[in-house]
C-alpha cells in the first residue's frame, strides 16, 4: 500500500483512505492500545477515539511520511485521556498499591488474554513497581519495538529522558527481582 498517497487522500477528507491506513497496521495499533488499556473493550474505545481525532486533525500533519508515528502518538494520548477519565470514576491507584488486590484485579479482567500465564502475571506485577513514565517507556521499547526517537515523540520528552527512564526502570526491577527466574 502506498501510504503517502492514502495520507494525501485522507487529508482531503477521504474517510475510507484514513480507515485503510489504520487497518493496514491494525494489529500494531491494537496491541499498543491493549498495553495501555489492559482489555479489549477499552482498547477498541481508545482506537475509536483515535480515528476521530486523526480525522479532525489530519490537516495539521505536515509530512505525510510521518503519519504512522503521528497517529501512534495520538493513540497513546487517547489511551491516557481515557484512563484519566476512568481514574476519576474508580480510584484504581489505591487498589494498585496492594499487590494482592492488583492480582485479583488482573484476574477479574474478563478479556485479559494472559489469564493462563503465570510468568506474564509476574512481569506485569514487576512493572507495577515502577512509576508510570518508566512503565510506559519500557513497554513501548520492549513490547512494541519502538525506537527511542518515536518513544520520545509519543511521550513528549527529549530522547535523553526516555533513555534515562528505561535505564532507571530496568535498574529498579533488577534490584527488586535480582536474577531469580520463578516468581
Amino acid at each position: 500500500m502506498n501510504a503517502v498517497r492514502y495520507v494525501k487522500k485522507a487529508k482531503k477528507g477521504n474517510k475510507e483512505a484514513l480507515l485503510q491506513l489504520i487497518l493496514a497496521e491494525k494489529d500494531d495499533y491494537y496491541r499498543l492500545a491493549l498495553t495501555y488499556m489492559g482489555n479489549s473493550h477499552d482498547a477498541m474505545d481508545a482506537m475509536e477515539d483515535m480515528i476521530v481525532r486523526l480525522y479532525e486533525n489530519i490537516g495539521q500533519l505536515k509530512k505525510e511520511e510521518a503519519f504512522y508515528s503521528w497517529s501512534r502518538t495520538i493513540l497513546a494520548n487517547s489511551c491516557k485521556a481515557l484512563l484519566r477519565k476512568r481514574q476519576k470514576l474508580v480510584p484504581l491507584d489505591d487498589a494498585a498499591m496492594n499487590g494482592k488486590l492488583t492480582e485479583d484485579l488482573a484476574l477479574a479482567l474478563p478479556s485479559d488474554p494472559y489469564r493462563h500465564s503465570d510468568q506474564q502475571m509476574d512481569i506485569r506485577q514487576m512493572l507495577l513497581h515502577l512509576n508510570e513514565q518508566q512503565q510506559e517507556a519500557i513497554q513501548l521499547k520492549y513490547w512494541h519495538d519502538l525506537d527511542y526517537q518515536t518513544i520520545a515523540d509519543m511521550m513528549g520528552v527529549p530522547i535523553g529522558t526516555v533513555k534515562s527512564r528505561i535505564f532507571q526502570g530496568l535498574k529498579k526491577m533488577r534490584e527488586l527481582y535480582g536474577g531469580e527466574t520463578d516468581g
Binding site: 477528507g13 474517510k15 479489549s40 482506537m47 479532525e56 488474554p113 494472559y114 512481569i123 531469580e180
Partner: protein, 429 residues
Amino acid sequence: MDNIEKRLTEENRRLNTIAAPEELEARLRSALEGAAPARTKRISVVWRAAAAAILLIVIFGYNYNAFAFYGKKLLGFDELISSTLQELNDQGMGQLVDRKATLSDGTELTINGIMTDANQLILYYTLTNPRGIDDWSDPPFKPSRITGFLTNSHLESGVSQPNEGQTEVKGTITFEPVSPFAKKLTLHYFELGENNQLIDQTLSFAYDPNQAMQTEVKQSIGKKAQVDKGTINFQSITATPTMTMIEGSLNVDNFDRLPGALDGIELIANGVPVERTGSGHGSSIGGRKFDLRYNPLPKPLKSLELVMKEFAGYQQLDQRLPLASAGEEPFTWEGKELWVKKVTITSQGVEITIATEEDVLLDGVSIETQGKTISLRTTVGQIETKLEDGTILKERTLLFDSQAKPEYLRIKGMHYMKEYNVVIDIPVD
C-alpha cells in the same frame, strides 16, 4: 541480555501473537461516520455526475470477466488428492495458473493451478529437475503465504509425492482463504541458497474470484455449552465444497491441561458422523479461538448437529490416600483409577511413582508426613504403557522436597475427559 530484559522480550513475543478483533473495523468505520467533517465544500452537480459515471466504470470495468466463466481441470494430481478434491477437479472447479520459476538449484517450479472457496485456497504445484531432486521430502521450495488485495493467507498444510525417477514432485498446499476482491495473488516462498540461507521469493499470478466455489452453508450457530471450568461458544459453520469449518471461542480454565480436548466434538450430518480432518486453537482477546475442520457435507443435507461427547472436565476430590496400604489395588473415583506403584526416598527427596488413565491430570498434589504438608515440586519421567485391554496408562513420578517417609498422598482434584453429551441442532433449510 539480562533476565529482566529477556522476560520483557518474551512478553513482546506473546503480545505479537494477539491480533485485532474482527469487530474493530466495523467500530472504527462507524466512529468515523459520526465524525464531523474536517471541512465542508459544496460539490457541483456536474462533478457528482462525473463521479457517478467513473464509479460505474470502475465497478463494471473491474468485474468484466464475471461474464466469462471458464472452469479448468488440473491434470496429473490423481494419486495425491482426496476423493473430494478429485471430484471437484473432475468437474473443472480449478483455475489454471501455469506460472513458472527456477529455484537456485536449477529445479523448475510450476504453479499449475488453484482451487478456492470461502474456507481455503488449494495450490497445485510441480517441481521438475532432470538431474533428480535429491531430497524430495525437503525440496528447496518452501512456501509460506499468499498475499493480494485484502489478502494475507498463511500456509496450513501440504502433501507431495515424487515420480519414480525422482525427477518430478507434484504437490498440493492449502492456505487460508483469499479475499473475493483480489484479482492478483502472490505466492511467497523461500528457497535454499548457498550456505543454507533462506532467500525470500515471490511469484504472482492472476486470480479470478468469480471462479471461487460457492459456499453451501454459512450461518451462525451462537450456542453456548457449559463445562466444569468455563464455557464453549460455538459461533459459526461454513460449509464449502472442499471442507466444513466450525468456528468458535472458549473460555475454559483447564482447556490446555489435557491434550486433544477438542477431539470429543462430532459433527453429525444426516445421522452419520462427518470425518474430522483437523482442528486448531489459539489464544486471543476474550478467551481462545478454535476451529474444527471436517469433510464436506453430504448432499442433500437433511439434518445437521454438533455433538460434544466429551470435553475437559474437573472433579473436586479432596482425597487423603494412605500410602502404607498402597500397592496392587488402585484407588478409584468417578470411574478413574490411580495406581501408586512405588514410594522411595532418594537424595532428590520423596519420589512417588503413580499411574492413571491417559486423560487424568491431578491437581493440588501434596504429601503429608509427620503432620507436615509438602506440596509437589515437579513431575518427571512420564511414560505410557498399554494394558492388555487396550487402555493406555500414563505413568509418572512425583517429586517432593522431603526426606521423611510420607504417610498420606493428598489430592485436591483432577482434570479429566468428562462425558457431557451436549447436542446442538443446526437448522438446515
